[in-house]
């Protein structure tokens, strides 16, 4: 491309860098402000003195949150739902995508199943029927209520199926002629060749389970069984820090405030996403490609 060296274009380029930097700052400053609040002491946070740098640095708020048994328990629930929820979702997705990636001639009934899945994808009966079904299955107040319902996401199955369909048919044919069963072909040809797609869906599934809060709010009654984001909601949206502050030892109350406690618990819950973020970024492109494949 030939560089345009006109005056107007140069002005535009400078302006462009300037605006984009501004957009970047707008995205990052609220988080930086919160980080500063979480490390500041009570007088500074209550008085609204903190901007982007901690005032009278203290880790009291973090100590308080990390010592709260309910925070710990909710963290364990979230870890459990990620461990079981993500693996179940991936197993179900892969197992269902494989038969659907076959032609209707190879797999009789394929189109019927495909239509069932598509209707499932496009219909949404709303939260009341969803809630009633989970209740009638007896899953209420159990971690399985958070794991089983999202185990099948029709959209993920379709993405996986499209990826399987891109694998050269000759590989499958050769293995079939050699007498390899469907199980063998799935796990020794399709799965190894689909690692980028599986990694993408797994990462997004981890983020989904980590961020889910509404299901915990309406399906779990026992405060000891809440996942982290649902518990966090009672702290940062319900503005109820009593569950955390009750645990505090004496003499510490000059160091933290409701505000710094909320900021600290928000930050603690962002850390796992930040740790995953570099990996997520690596797979954005795969994700986009997955979404745009045409059959």
């Amino acid at each position: 491309m030939i560089e345009d060296k006109s005056w107007g274009w140069r002005m535009f380029k400078i302006l462009n860098y300037f605006i984009l930097s501004f957009v970047g700052l707008i995205c990052i400053l609220p988080l930086a402000h919160f980080l500063a609040v979480s490390f500041s002491d009570r007088a500074a946070t209550v008085g609204g003195l903190v901007t982007l740098w901690p005032i009278r640095f203290t880790t009291a708020s973090y100590e308080l949150v990390l010592q709260a048994p309910l925070f710990y328990r909710s963290l364990i629930v979230s870890a459990q739902r990620i461990l079981f929820g993500v693996s179940l979702q991936m197993v179900v997705t892969i197992l269902m995508a494989y038969p659907l990636s076959k032609t209707a001639k190879r797999f009789k009934g394929r189109n019927v199943f495909m239509w069932l899945l598509l209707i499932g994808l496009f219909t949404d009966w709303g939260i009341i029927p969803w809630w009633l079904v989970i209740r009638s299955l007896g899953l209420m107040n159990s971690i399985w209520a958070l794991i089983i319902p999202p185990a099948l996401l029709p959209y993920n199955v379709i993405l996986m199926m499209n990826f399987f369909r891109e694998i050269p048919q000759e590989l499958d044919d050769a293995a079939r002629i050699d007498g390899a069963s469907h199980w063998k072909r799935l796990f020794q040809i399709y799965v190894p060749l689909s690692i980028p797609a599986i990694a993408t869906l797994t990462l997004f599934s981890v983020v989904f389970h980590w961020n889910a809060w509404f299901d915990g709010m309406v399906l779990i009654y026992d405060v000891n069984k809440l996942p982290l984001q649902t518990f966090l909601r009672s702290v940062v949206i319900g503005l109820d820090t009593s569950n955390l502050a009750l645990q505090a030892g004496s003499g510490q109350f000059l160091l933290y405030s409701d505000r710094s406690i909320r900021a600290a618990s928000i930050f603690l819950s962002i850390i796992p996403v930040l740790l995953l973020y570099p990996f997520l970024q690596r797979y954005f492109v795969t994700g986009i490609r997955l979404g745009s494949i045409k059959g």
Partner: protein, 316 residues
């Protein structure tokens, strides 16, 4: 079928059944693989249909769906006379349209601006930063916004420095909708730009060369090469987002609103949640939900029909 067959084909019957049994023996694993997904699909996508019955009943949780009295369309008749029903439908539509339109506009703009950046490091850093909020839940973002926009929050701190009066953003019916749109843009604009950036990298560089040889300056190249290059992506996103015209963002609204802003901020989903799961008015909530699902389904269908007709998009 076999019993009606002519004598000559009867001899083939055993062969046909054995063909079927070999097919089954070989393909049984496929059906076994389908099973877990199929059970979940039926449980969570088809079984909920029975819940729709509630919309036509005077549902009593003690009696259950089977024994609750049927009232026909009474719930809907009641619903359509409720002033708040029209209010929440209007709010939902206004918020959803404002969010969708402004998001796509900002996303295209952001993609075009990022596309003009030659410094790879700068581009990568900005991308890394603007995609991040997409991965944070609305509990976290709601917590951030409640604090930032609160009376002692950073925004009012700045306003006070500038000598202006503090604004109660989340307690004002003038401000609530703009706040919803702006915070939504803050979360999603970067992420939504990805699809346009991908379309922009797909434009053949030869086109730019040809245009500049023909004497087109940079602005003209954007107008005649870049914009036509992403036209089909914009069109596709536009028709597919038809289906979200009733999706005003339940997660976001539920974590930001309060009774003061119900007149401008209460939407179908939050109303369904409150009526059904908070006040246990199951029949009313299900009726609203059914209304929402039906309109949504029609919009989704129109969107995919248009996408199928006018773009190259195919879902499978």
């Amino acid at each position: 079928m076999i019993s009606n067959a002519s004598p000559s084909s009867q001899s083939q019957a055993p062969a046909r059944t054995s063909k079927l049994s070999t097919y089954l023996a070989r393909s049984l694993p496929l059906y076994i693989m389908m099973l877990p997904g199929l059970i979940l699909l039926i449980l969570f996508s088809y079984f909920p249909i029975y819940g729709i019955a509630l919309a036509f009943q005077k549902f009593n949780p003690g009696l259950g769906v089977l024994k609750s009295p049927w009232v026909g369309l009474e719930n809907f008749r009641h619903l359509f006379t409720l002033p708040e029903f029209w209010r929440i439908t209007r709010n939902t539509f206004i918020i959803a349209v404002a969010k969708t339109v402004s998001l796509q506009f900002c996303a295209v703009l952001l993609a075009l601006m990022l596309n003009e950046i030659r410094s790879r490091i700068f581009k990568r850093s900005i991308q890394t930063i603007v995609y991040l909020p997409h991965f944070l839940s609305w509990v976290i973002l709601g917590g951030l916004m409640l604090d930032l926009l609160g009376s002692t929050g950073l925004v009012n701190q700045i306003l006070r420095q500038l000598g202006s009066k503090p604004i109660i953003f989340l307690g004002s019916n003038d401000w609530f909708r703009p706040v919803l749109v702006i915070t939504y843009l803050w979360q999603e604009a970067g992420w939504s730009a990805i699809i346009y950036l991908a379309a922009l990298t797909g434009i053949d560089p030869v086109l730019y060369e040809a245009a500049s040889i023909d004497g087109a300056n940079h602005l003209k190249q954007i107008r005649h090469v870049t914009l036509p290059g992403i036209r089909s992506t914009v069109l596709l996103v536009a028709v597919l987002s038809l289906g979200s015209m009733l999706d005003a963002g339940f997660d976001q609204v539920l974590n930001l609103y309060n009774p003061v802003v119900y007149p401008t901020g209460d939407i179908l989903d939050t109303y369904i949640y409150r009526a059904g799961l908070v006040s246990a008015q199951f029949s009313l909530a299900t009726a609203v939900g059914l209304f929402r699902s039906a309109v949504r389904l029609i919009l989704v269908a129109i969107g995919y029909f248009l996408a199928d007709r006018y773009t190259e998009y195919r879902i499978f």
